[in-house]
Amino acid sequence: MSITSTTIKQWLLSSAVAFSCLAAPAAIAGPIDNYSPVTPARLENPEPGNWMLYRRTYDGHGYSPLDQINTANVKSMVPVWTFATGVVEGHEAPPLVNNGVMFITTPMGQVIALNAKTGDQYWRYKRELPEDLFQLHPTNRGVGLWQDKLYLATTDDHLVALDAKTGKVLWDKKVQDYKKGQYLTLMPLVVDGKVMVGGSGGEFGVRGYVAAYDAEDGKELWRTFTIPAEGEPGHDTWSGDDWKNGGGSAWMTGTYDKDTKTVYWGVGNAAPWPGNLHPGDNLYTSSVIALDPSTGKIKTHFQYHQNDSWDWDEVDAPMLIDLQRDGRTFKSLIHPGRDAIFWVLESTPERIKYVNGWNFVHTDVWKGIEPETGRPIVDPAHKPTLGKRVDFCPSLWGGKDWPSAAYSQKTRFVYVPANENFCGGFTGEKLPLVPGQLWLGTKAEDIGLTVRPGADHFGELQAWDPASGKKVWSHNFPKSQLFGSVTATAGDLVLVGGTNDRMFRAFHAKTGELLWEQKTNSGIMGMPVAYEVDGTQYIAVQSGWGVDAQRIQDALAKGNTGLEDNVPQGGVVWVFAIKK
């Protein structure tokens, strides 16, 4: 039997008539009318009601100037709409908002455009991932915005440009080879028409890089490896051929100083893990590099710790804060590190200088920091090595992993999603590199997460004054890790999920008082945002547990903590406003 075209037309006609009779259509479909092009000026100085960059502004503050929702009324905040993504695993992306249009991304390479006011869907893009793809980190942290285009970095290591109005693919470039364990999870950073991405794969023996593509046509403009080749400055911090598979992945979005036209990019751990498998300082692993976005040239760098042996990626880019300290104001780089050190650095045109550093969680690895150079002094008893079990604190996930800290321009405090009382350990082993298989320098099954004796909490939301180095307040989570990004607002709210009880919380930015909480569908690893449409302020976050939050939960469930490995998965976008 075949259906004639007349039948189809009639069917379409009648359904269209029926549809138009409904008072409120259940869903609207794209394309998006009146889409506001994302210009360089708008990215450099975004309207208060929008969230168009990973941390809203290029300086990485994670701060919204909106204050309609504030400490006085947040108790009346209620969900106004939700949207199920239909995808499991870690939903880490911020819901990005450009003048009433929201873009979310999910694991498995989906992008969904929604009406930010109503939650109705405009369009959905689904990446068709290859059958033989393996995903150590099935996640995505958002699309880059530029003019009327979006840029998605995929786990099969492509960079895909979409039409923001329709979700149609405009171009699709292979960045590297997923079969070798190269993949992308970050939100691309777009600066002056250049789309920058950095590769994941530090656990598969890659050599990390940051690469830039022309926003218009996807032409590769430059690629800068995070590990210098022979003849390049810094190569002498490696021995032999170690540099070729030395790690240094660069899997988080950089920050950008528009005054000096400098991109700051965080670089991951050295590979494989035990340091005596790659003797030397191993530049630029566990460092921040300062890049010229027009050429990719490394202007300068600062290495947080040398000869990384703990899997302490320092990929989270520093926050760029004009800091008043010791009677002067200077351009600072602030980085609460995975290595448990809260770093305060000064960026000068010539170099990045160490200013101050202190432990923000317990660590037994550092005996101090050399005041002149900023080199931490390592205790060899807690540095993983070959053939011997070595334990160290904090754990592999560090004092703060990739989830972002926030800086409030009002309180001038830095809010850190920290993990306290975790330690780790493993026995270093020299193992051959098999392309596409984990290459850790230890047996994966040997990796431990332990809880310090007498620990009364794990997760710790901390407020620090970066000028004085004082902790202003902290909120402890007795039964949960804290594994989610923090956002601050001018309403003096600090917003964070990240706990295994599925809560989304708002704290008082000045005092740390818990003001509001809401249980959600799943655990929240995503980044909260604040935005405004038609004069109403909203708070949005994706709830969807997975990846490393889940791994820590697995480890805790096995470790006599009384916790269970039962945090449900499945992504939902939650949007809140003050009850009218």
Partner: protein, 117 residues
């Protein structure tokens, strides 16, 4: 099977283990050859290679474990998932011993590969 697959795809990687035939359940026994069982090495969660043979998180038996996100599969029970996020068992590859040589008896039973959505 007569054909030998040599296209290099990682989807053809298999896990082989010899177990006590008495430990195998009714589905698994007919697919085993003298206690040797074979399964796809591709984790049904996110497609990583299953690489570890290790004591189960729950129970005392050794099981296959995928180190990407801790999924565990019991090869005695058709590689059913006994821990972790994997949504389904590993595909099984029936074996037989022919003229003293271990050979594949039939194509994979079940889907090879990770979940895609």
């Amino acid at each position: 099977m007569d054909a030998i697959v040599r296209d290099g795809s990682r989807l053809n990687e298999v896990l082989l283990v010899r177990l006590d035939p008495n430990e195998l359940d009714e589905t698994t026994r007919p697919r085993a050859a003298e206690g040797i069982v074979a399964y796809s090495a591709i984790c049904s969660h996110a497609g990583c290679p299953v690489t570890a043979w290790i004591k189960a998180s729950e129970g005392n038996d050794d099981v296959f474990k995928c180190m990407c996100h801790n999924s565990e599969y019991d090869p005695r029970r058709g590689a059913q998932v006994v821990f972790g996020p994997a949504p389904r068992r590993l595909a099984a590859l029936p074996l037989v011993i022919k003229d003293g040589v271990l050979v594949i008896a039939a194509p994979f039973i079940g889907k090879v590969g990770g979940q895609q959505g």
